[in-house]
C-alpha cells in the first residue's frame, strides 16, 4: 500500500508534507472515521438508557458494530467499526436529547486516530511505549491510557495491530516518531515516499 498523507490536510499546517510510513511497520490515519465521545455526569446513564452495555473502566465492550471504550466512570469513547455501525444514529439521538446526558468530549475533532500495523508493528511499539504489551498481559479487551511516542494517548489492540488515539495537533510529530522507531527496529525497508 502506498504511503498516505496525514489527516486533516491543511495546506501550510504542521502536517503538510508529512507521509505515513508503510512496509514492515505501517501507519494508517483513521482520523476521518466515525467516533463519538461522552464525558461528565450523566454520560454512562444516558448510554445505558439507550441500550449500550458499558464495560468496566479501562475495558472494551461491543454494541451494534461499535467498540465501546470505558476510559473512566463517566468518560466513554465509541469507535465505529464499519459502515454497519449504529454510532451515527446514536450520536444524532444524543444531540437531540435533553439533559442529563453528559457532554460531548469532542473526540471526533480533538483527537487523531491512527492504526499501527505490519509484521514489525509489535517491535516498533516496544520502542514507543513502556508498557508490557504482550498478548497475555494486554488483551484485545484492554485499554492502555499511557504515553506512546512521548505523548499522552489511548491505545487498544486492533485486528491489524494497535490503534492509538491522541491530540490531533501532534499528528505530524507522531508520524515522524513512528517512522524513526520503525527504522531503528527493523532492517526492512520503511517507506514514506510511496515507493512500496
Amino acid at each position: 500500500m502506498a504511503a498516505s498523507p496525514v489527516f486533516p490536510f491543511m495546506p501550510g499546517g504542521a502536517a503538510d508534507g508529512t507521509r505515513l510510513p508503510s512496509g514492515a511497520v505501517m501507519l494508517t490515519d483513521l482520523t476521518g472515521s466515525l467516533r463519538f465521545g461522552l464525558k461528565g455526569g450523566g454520560s454512562a446513564g444516558w448510554l445505558v438508557s439507550r441500550g449500550v452495555p458499558l464495560p468496566a473502566v479501562n475495558r472494551i465492550g461491543s454494541w451494534r458494530g461499535t467498540r465501546v471504550l470505558r476510559l473512566g466512570n463517566e468518560d466513554i469513547l465509541l469507535l465505529a467499526e464499519g459502515p454497519d455501525s449504529a454510532l451515527a444514529e446514536l450520536a444524532n439521538t444524543w444531540h437531540g436529547a435533553t439533559a442529563p446526558k453528559g457532554y460531548s468530549s469532542w473526540r471526533e475533532e480533538g483527537w487523531a486516530w491512527m492504526r499501527l500495523s505490519g509484521p514489525q508493528a509489535p517491535q516498533a511499539m516496544e520502542r514507543l511505549c513502556a508498557l508490557d504489551l504482550r498478548a497475555d498481559k494486554f488483551s484485545a479487551e484492554d485499554i492502555a491510557q499511557t504515553r506512546v511516542g512521548n505523548i499522552e494517548a489511548v491505545m487498544v489492540r486492533s485486528q491489524a495491530g494497535f490503534d492509538v488515539l491522541f491530540d490531533v495537533t501532534a499528528s505530524a510529530y507522531f508520524a515522524r516518531t513512528v517512522t524513526a522507531a520503525a527504522r531503528h527496529c527493523t532492517d526492512l525497508l520503511i517507506d514514506t515516499e510511496g515507493h512500496i
Partner: protein, 88 residues
C-alpha cells in the same frame, strides 16, 4: 525508572504523573482568625514524616491520593479519593 501505581491504570512510569501537593485542611474563612487564615494561604508545611498527596495520572486525567514518606521518598500506598471520603 521510578514506578508509581495508579489505582485505576496500574503501575506506570512516574513521568506519566503530576503532583498536586499535600491534602490540606479546609478552614472556613469566616470562622478563622486572620493570622491562621494567612498561615493557611501563604505558608507550606515542611516537616518530616508521612504525607497524603493529590496526584494526577495525566493520560487518563485521573486524580487520586498517595501516601508518601517525605524522608525516604517511598510511596507507601495509592488509593482512590472515595476511600478518603469514606473515612470518618
Amino acid at each position: 525508572m521510578k514506578i508509581l501505581t495508579c489505582p485505576m491504570n496500574g503501575p506506570r512510569n512516574i513521568d506519566e504523573f503530576q503532583s498536586f501537593g499535600p491534602v490540606r485542611a479546609e478552614p472556613d474563612p469566616d470562622r478563622t482568625a486572620d493570622a491562621d487564615w494567612s498561615r493557611h494561604l501563604f505558608r507550606a508545611e515542611n516537616r518530616r514524616g508521612i504525607v497524603i498527596e493529590w496526584w494526577r495520572h495525566v493520560p487518563s486525567n485521573y486524580f487520586f491520593l498517595a501516601e508518601r514518606d517525605l524522608v525516604s521518598n517511598e510511596i507507601i500506598r495509592t488509593f482512590d479519593a472515595s476511600e478518603r471520603r469514606a473515612q470518618p
